[in-house]
């Protein structure tokens, strides 16, 4: 079992990164690790790029991941995967939602959305796992579970068993959304397992 690790979450304000990183943190706590997580609130929430740093280990001091040391990047949007390249190393795993959200300069036609940004990662030998989290969410019947589908997809890179995650969802998600989120988690996980 990994003794410590760094998981970086990135995306666009409003995509549900906070819940995704919370579930992951609770799963790591349940697995017996010390965990710290850092987020930025305020201005950053208004549709801008957002990130959450999660670090686990026997004893974690710093809440911030050092550049070049993210073991897993969970990106909720394609461009927001590429933006965090300096945090990655050759053995990082990048789980990326294939969704594209136009940044303002692209939406107004001043710039183009770069077409092949994920090649920039694979070209450097980084393992990229592209997941259409929205499709998974649609299949399980609740669009708002795309974030939990991403957690499911990412979970195969952790030693924590899926049962621990399902348990956490039971404890942390409102009853009304519990079952559908568990299905999203399992579908996300199954999708990546099928790719391996």
């Amino acid at each position: 079992m990994q003794q410590s690790g760094n998981i970086l979450f990135s995306g666009v304000g409003g995509q549900g990164i906070l819940l995704a990183s919370e579930l992951t943190a609770h799963a790591q706590l349940a697995a017996g690790f010390d965990v710290k997580k850092s987020e930025v609130h305020g201005m950053a929430q208004r549709g801008g790029s957002v990130e959450a740093h999660l670090r686990y280990g026997e004893r974690v001091y710093s809440p911030l991941i050092e550049p070049g040391t993210a073991d897993i990047l969970v990106a909720f949007e394609t461009l927001e995967a590429a933006r965090y390249l300096p945090y990655l190393h050759e053995n990082s795993a990048v789980v990326v939602n294939t969704m594209q959200i136009m940044p303002p300069a692209v939406a107004t036609g001043a710039m183009r959305y770069p077409g092949d940004v994920l090649d920039e990662l694979t070209g450097r030998g980084i393992r990229v796992i592209a997941v259409d989290a929205f499709e998974i969410a649609r299949e399980v019947g609740e669009l708002r579970t795309a974030n939990v589908a991403m957690v499911g997809a990412m979970s195969i890179f952790l030693a924590v068993s899926p049962g621990v995650f399902l348990d956490v969802i039971d404890r942390k998600v409102k009853e009304r959304f519990r079952e559908v989120n568990k299905r999203a988690f399992e579908a996300g996980r199954a999708r990546v397992q099928a790719m391996q």
């Binding site: 609130h41 208004r46 809440p63 940044p103």
Partner: protein
């Protein structure tokens, strides 16, 4: 270390501070929102046995807390770093009076300016106001230190400052929980020599403050929060706050003097530690605060000659600053379109700023809130922004400097919460001293920017209970403003007419731009119409694109693509509204002159 959910909680620094304050027996708390401090008061309001409130500004909040302390109970004031500038006046004199119940003043600094207009280091206030200051490194410590801060405040008869930074306030970690302490009974006790700061009394308290701070310096030597962590190697580190975490990661095993109280400093402890190591390095974010005071003791150390004095640190920055050879080869960042924050789809501020962006030759004196995003393209309709409330006063100053030249050209723009915070006195001055500027109050019924806190205009208190809502029109009239107009900023054409008329007038005028924030729960729930693009009617004129609405995107076309879609060959593209993102404000439909945007009622 394993997470035992009977005794442990998973909390953010701010949640831990609320818990710590509650356990310490705080009974009255007042604050004004501001990142990264906001969640403390929001959380504290949910505990039993604490009166918590949103004050209209930080000076008010601190004075409320001082009052509660005078009545004998433990009190807390919370604010972001720049809030302490606003509250500095009561702070400096409260150092003289002290209180009866413990008084803790929390300041949350924002190195790196994630959500702030500057990155001042508020440790300097502890020195300047002559007050003790605690600074935790993580949520667990933040909770524990709250108890120490209240205890020390009562022991020394001094307000105690409590400094956090973003990487404590918004970090989550494992926190132990405890019991609430027995609380004191409030009472009236007249102590004029202590509480009435006229010169005669103040001179006595001034001298007494020196004595109280001398005792604080003594206490610093034995305080559990200041500790030496033994280690090996020639280098020793003095550090505090979140920087401590970075030192522990970058140089595990090195000797560390960790200061939990960053003012006053334990001189003997520092001297002994300095003597025990070959090289002393002070690691701190922002100013060389510890470093300067350690040097002033005549102790040689390194610090800002190595460690950056701007922005946040992390363990990589600390390690490579001290050992440049440990630098790693990193992947270089890619050149990608930026994703700055943007006003939400359906935001009422957008309509108002769109109208301002179309006015030639005006200067928009801006302020701080979600609406500051009106500065960004394509609206680009804000020309200055200094601090809360400055929109009105800066506009007045420009008006006076420009004289006739400025007539009809100076506009101040500020939000409802900002107007309550510090806009009212500026408007009073503008009327009294005959400004010709126009003041626009963006009344979206809430303090939106910091995450929807209630304010004196929103009609509810911190617990969501009904409260008096100030009437802006009446207030402005009472201040002496003769012309107060109200517009609905979603009605762009009408708003433009009113703006042109009122800004052109030769007197102080106020325009209230009133429409609720789209993120308010009742707005989210409201059945809203949907606006849809009739793609066949779109001529590619880009009028709607000029709004910068995140729900509208531009799809460029080549000549042959245009023809294939039945457009003119010259049409460069078309605009499309995303049904998922549209919030039904209708601003774009008002701008479209080709019937390419139509309204669909909610079903």
């Amino acid at each position: 270390m394993s997470f035992d959910s009977d005794n442990n909680l998973w909390l953010s620094g701010n949640e831990a501070i609320a818990l710590g304050a509650w356990e310490a027996g705080v009974q009255v708390a007042s604050g004004y929102p501001g990142t990264p401090s906001t969640e403390i008061m929001g959380n504290l309001a949910r505990y039993e046995g604490v009166y918590a409130e949103w004050a209209p500004n930080e000076k008010v909040g601190l004075e409320v807390a001082i009052g509660a302390s005078f009545a004998g109970v433990r009190a807390l004031a919370t604010m972001k770093h720049v809030g302490l500038n606003v509250a500095a006046d009561p702070l400096f004199t409260a150092a003289y009076t002290g209180g009866r119940g413990g008084l803790v003043v929390l300041t949350a600094d924002d190195p790196q300016m994630h959500s702030s207009q500057n990155e001042q280091d508020n440790r300097n206030y502890a020195f300047a106001a002559k007050l003790p200051m605690f600074e935790p490194s993580d949520p667990a410590e933040a909770r524990e230190m709250m108890a120490s801060a209240f205890a020390l405040s009562e022991e020394l008869d001094l307000p105690v400052l409590f400094r956090t930074t973003t990487r404590v306030a918004h970090v989550k970690g494992v926190v132990r929980k405890g019991e609430r302490r027995q609380v004191a009974a409030a009472s009236i006790e007249k102590m004029p020599a202590k509480f009435v700061m006229l010169p005669g009394n103040a001179r006595v308290r001034r001298a007494d403050l020196e004595e109280r701070m001398r005792r604080a310096r003594e206490r610093a030597e034995t305080l559990a929060e200041n500790r030496v962590e033994e280690g090996s190697g020639r280098r020793g580190f003095i550090t505090a706050g979140t920087s401590y975490n970075y030192v522990k990661e970058a140089f595990p095993g090195a000797p560390v003097l960790k200061l939990g109280m960053v003012w006053p400093l334990p001189e003997k402890m520092i001297r002994a530690f300095a003597d025990s190591v070959e090289e002393l390095i002070v690691v701190e974010e922002l100013d060389p605060f510890l470093e300067n005071h350690i040097r002033a003791m005549g102790i040689d150390c390194r610090g800002k000659d190595l460690i950056p004095g701007q922005g946040e640190l992390n363990s990589y920055i600390v390690r490579t600053a001290i050992e440049p050879e440990s630098r790693r080869e990193l992947f270089a960042p890619l050149d990608l379109p930026m994703r700055p924050p943007n006003m939400c789809a359906g935001c009422p501020h957008r309509g108002l700023f769109y109208c301002l962006s179309r006015m030639k030759d005006i200067f928009v004196s801006g302020d701080i809130g979600c609406y500051t995003l009106g500065f960004l393209p394509p609206l680009s309709a804000m020309d200055s922004c200094v601090c809360m409330g400055a929109s009105v006063t800066v506009a007045h100053g420009m008006d006076k400097a420009l004289g006739r030249e400025g007539s009809g050209r100076i506009v101040a723009v500020l939000g409802d919460s900002t107007f309550m915070h510090s806009g009212i006195t500026g408007l009073l001055n503008a009327v009294y001293n005959e400004s010709h500027a126009t003041v626009i109050i963006l009344d979206n019924r809430i303090t939106a920017m910091t995450g929807h806190q209630q304010n004196p205009a929103s009609g509810r208190n911190i617990r969501g209970e009904p409260a008096h809502a100030i009437d802006f029109e009446q207030l402005c009239h009472a201040l002496g403003v003769r012309r107060v107009s109200v517009v609905n900023p979603h009605r762009i054409n009408e708003t433009r007419k009113v703006l042109a008329e009122e800004i052109g007038r030769d007197e102080t005028t106020v325009i209230i731009s009133r429409a609720p924030c789209v993120l308010l729960p009742e707005e989210v729930r409201r059945k809203k119409p949907l606006y849809v693009t009739e793609l066949s009617n779109c001529t590619g004129c880009r009028a709607c694109i000029g709004l910068g609405c995140p729900a509208i995107s531009w799809h460029p076309l080549t000549a042959s693509e245009a023809v294939a879609r039945g457009y003119r060959e010259k049409q460069k593209g078309y605009a499309e509204i995303s049904a998922v993102q549209c919030n039904g404000c209708g601003q774009c439909a008002e701008l479209c002159t080709f019937e390419a945007i139509t309204r669909k009622e909610a079903d």
